[in-house]
């Protein structure tokens, strides 16, 4: 005896789960993924991350409920007394709008006084198959490891009305005085377009 819902499920089984490029890699060890990049052969460079601006790069969550184990970035430059704050934001509720929405988790102050791969232990839980954003803000402008614009997956599309050779929207930038991340990502963010370098904002799964 089938219920109506059971009958409908039998008639229209859901498609198989998608296999997105994000897993915990239990058999091989923890690995990081790069926000905004599905290319494992990116060209590496650096970028001067400007102070008092939220810089947001999108990434896609796996097809299952997942837990972020750590967030990371690498500052190759140094600022005595300087700090960075990295965070995860959800996308806004309307999935047709690719724009950061509510804050999920932030690192708080991470010193950029020494050059190194900087990590933050996270416990953020991600919903499956959703767009999220990694965001960084720094108290003083600092050079960070980046991938060149040509290595970025153009999830944010391209500028329509231009004859530029590289009209790709690489990330979103909005002014925000350094400190705690706003609970809701500010409106009026603007695309940064062209073949510009994008900071490597890394995320790792534990489950």
């Amino acid at each position: 005896m089938y219920s109506i819902a059971g009958l409908l499920r039998a008639m229209f089984p859901p498609p198989p789960k998608r296999e997105l490029p994000a897993a915990i890699n239990a058999s091989i060890g923890a690995v990081d993924y790069i926000a905004g990049c599905i290319n494992s052969s990116p060209v590496f460079g650096t970028i001067a991350v400007v102070a008092d601006k939220l810089l947001a790069v999108p990434f896609w969550s796996p097809p299952y409920k997942s837990t972020i184990g750590r967030l990371a970035f690498e500052n190759t430059g140094t600022v005595v007394g300087g700090n960075a704050n990295i965070a995860i934001y959800e996308n806004v509720a309307n999935p047709k709008s690719l724009y950061p929405g509510a804050l999920v988790e932030e690192s708080g102050n991470i010193s950029i006084a020494t050059a190194a791969l900087k990590t933050y232990t996270s416990s953020a839980v991600l919903k499956p198959n959703r767009l999220y954003w990694m965001v960084i803000n720094v108290s003083s402008s600092v050079t960070c490891r980046a991938i060149l614009g040509i290595s970025v997956t153009p999830m944010l599309g391209i500028v329509l009305d231009t004859t530029a050779v590289n009209p790709f929207n690489e990330y979103i930038l909005v002014a925000s005085t350094y400190g705690a991340m706003p609970s809701t990502f500010p409106a009026s963010g603007a695309y940064v377009s062209g073949n510009v370098n994008v900071p490597i904002l890394r995320y790792q799964f534990t489950a």
């Binding site: 997105l20 897993a23 239990a26 990081d32 599905i38 494992s40 052969s41 896609w60």
Partner: protein
């Protein structure tokens, strides 16, 4: 009502961006033009520079992941181009671990016979049915060090992430020591990260 529900399901699962990129580029069946091959782990092709010459290490089994077509597919042929003669080559296809959170090869689904290498395409008929939207692994091992293509320059997908301790190196393949011969089943534990990886061509029917 059924139509509404059906549409709702379709809409619910119509995810895009990264997943769609991988599915579209790494796993399509026959198209309306002619037979075509796809690259394991492939995502981009930058004109003229998408691949580079590279030399394998003998007795090392290389595996690279790929995503099967959204509706499944019959993987008809597997091929690897080599640049010079000598020794033999074997190719194989592994299933991923059952836990999809663990991106790692597991059961051997198919392996080619030993093929004498040369400056040629080494192609073998596979004819194995792949489940839809799953990660599989294409494998290759050579009896001697052999020149072949590596999709080193922007050409490979980011399925395997970045070594957590590395700053400028992404993972494009796993390797494990394996004396040339029949491929191991299941795939051994303790594989290592590898940046270079063979360009393995896949053709569906």
């Amino acid at each position: 009502m059924i139509r509404i529900f059906k549409n709702g399901v379709a809409k619910l699962f119509r995810t895009g961006t990264i997943g769609a990129h991988l599915h579209a580029l790494s796993a399509a069946a026959l198209n309306g033009v002619s037979s075509s091959s796809y690259l394991a782990q492939g995502c981009n092709w930058v004109a003229g520079t998408g691949v580079a010459a590279w030399t394998t290490t003998l007795d090392v089994l290389y595996v690279v992941p790929f995503v099967s077509p959204a509706r499944g597919g019959l993987l008809h042929m597997v091929g690897v181009s080599t640049f010079n003669a000598g020794g033999n080559i074997r190719m194989g296809i592994y299933a991923n671990k059952l836990d999809i959170r663990d991106i790692y090869p597991d059961e051997l689904l198919w392996e080619s016979p030993s093929l004498v290498t040369g400056a040629k395409d080494n192609v073998a008929i596979a004819d194995i049915q792949l489940d839809p939207n799953r990660i599989y692994w294409a494998a290759v091992v050579t009896e001697q060090a052999r020149g072949m293509y590596d999709s080193a320059n922007y050409g490979s997908g980011h399925l395997m992430g970045m070594d957590a301790s590395a700053t400028t190196t992404c993972i494009r393949a796993y390797t494990v020591a394996h004396t040339f011969g029949a491929l191991p089943d299941p795939f051994p534990a303790s594989a290592a990260f590898s940046a270079p990886h063979p360009l393995i061509k896949l053709r569906y029917m």
